[in-house]
Symmetry: C2
Subunit: 236 residues, 2 copies
Amino acid sequence: MAATRSTGRRERLRAETTAEIKLTALDLMRSGGPDAITLRAIAREMGMTANAIYGYFATRDDLVTALIADVYTALADAVDTAWADSARRAPAERITAWAHAFRDWALTNPEGFRLIYGDPVPGYQAPAGGPAPDAARRVCVGIAALADAARAGTEPAPDESGFTWDDFDPGLLHKVRPAFPDLPPAGVALALRIWGHLHGLITLEVYGHLRAQTFAPDKLFRSELDQLVRTLNLGR
Amino acid sequence: MAATRSTGRRERLRAETTAEIKLTALDLMRSGGPDAITLRAIAREMGMTANAIYGYFATRDDLVTALIADVYTALADAVDTAWADSARRAPAERITAWAHAFRDWALTNPEGFRLIYGDPVPGYQAPAGGPAPDAARRVCVGIAALADAARAGTEPAPDESGFTWDDFDPGLLHKVRPAFPDLPPAGVALALRIWGHLHGLITLEVYGHLRAQTFAPDKLFRSELDQLVRTLNLGR
DNA sequence: GCGAAAACTATACGGCGTGAAGTTTCTGAA
DNA sequence: TTCAGAAACTTCACGCCGTATAGTTTTCGC
């Protein structure tokens, strides 16, 4: 017990420093973009030496990986919350709420969005399996929920899509199928396609490509959602 | 005349070196990703000093901007060619051809795609107006052509979208409206939405997010196009 | 109180973009 | 043909970066 308490103190300090490093990194990212995440800048900000950080993260990439996981989790939390908060509403409204939560998070945290989905940081190599597969799957499952909610409002179309379970990552299916037992393979495909739709519009907007063409990206996004709801046969 | 010939020679050498710099940079990008584009590496490859490049590009960002313009032009050429080559086919097939050309180019040149649409290079700041607004608009016009081809196959739906010409960049409209005089504002919005759909799926695929979830991204893309053709009322 | 482990610093290396100054090469006119 | 000047290019320097190695200080468990 005494030993536990002692190591507990060390571990607590360690955890605090680890958290401070990540927080400082996120601060730097917010003010200077993902490129501003440098070990030396973090150390400078914290009044340490750059090498001290190596006691907490083996390499800069490890730190970035941890940041991606954290930020991705925050995104997943945001959309999950929107979904849960709209539990009593109609599917069309829930889908709209989910999608708006997704876009709002991205526009509020553009640097975080770029960290997750773009080239995070100069020379960064994502570790095998991706840095935040769990959060990524949470987002996918969220979209599967959209697809499932839609399916509930329409007759089960004959599955002529040609998709089978073998087309999808087992890790994803492991999360999706128990949650939505009636969702067919084509439903998962639909979910991924919807993901692509939203991701594309948001990415173009976050990276400034959309704003070069239209002054009303929000109107465009709403229009997209209207069309989505209509496509899913949820009525307007 | 003599003077012209002389300056002509200097200018020719200069143009050749400029081209060699860009070519070397693209080579480095292809083999090592956008991050590999460094002045020193280019110079090393060319047997010069890094500072010699400053005689041709004022900063590294200027070089990157020129590269983006070139690569974006290559992309625009690729999709324009696909569109032109399918001139005698049905709209549904043309749209499919265009979209496949877009995706094929992206998958064949993932580094170029990331250069255009991602964070091009550490610390790169795009100049005002974007590096390749012309190529970007060419791509947008291409998608407007898709939307216009679709519109031709369907009755003009009452425009309840709420879009007006004021919602769009004049530079874009300047190219789109003369080419497609009957396309309403909602048609431009549709074009941008389609752009978003394709861009999203392709981006997720190029950045590896999609492959983490499905083994059949191509099937997914075809499914997306089927749905697009159906949505546009172009028949199967 | 002490030995060990953990946390942290100092120094160094090579790579990066880029500024300033110096050198070579080419050119167009006297 | 020679020569001033411009253009092309090199050298050196600075301050960034990640990170490896070695040394120092602080802290903890006994």
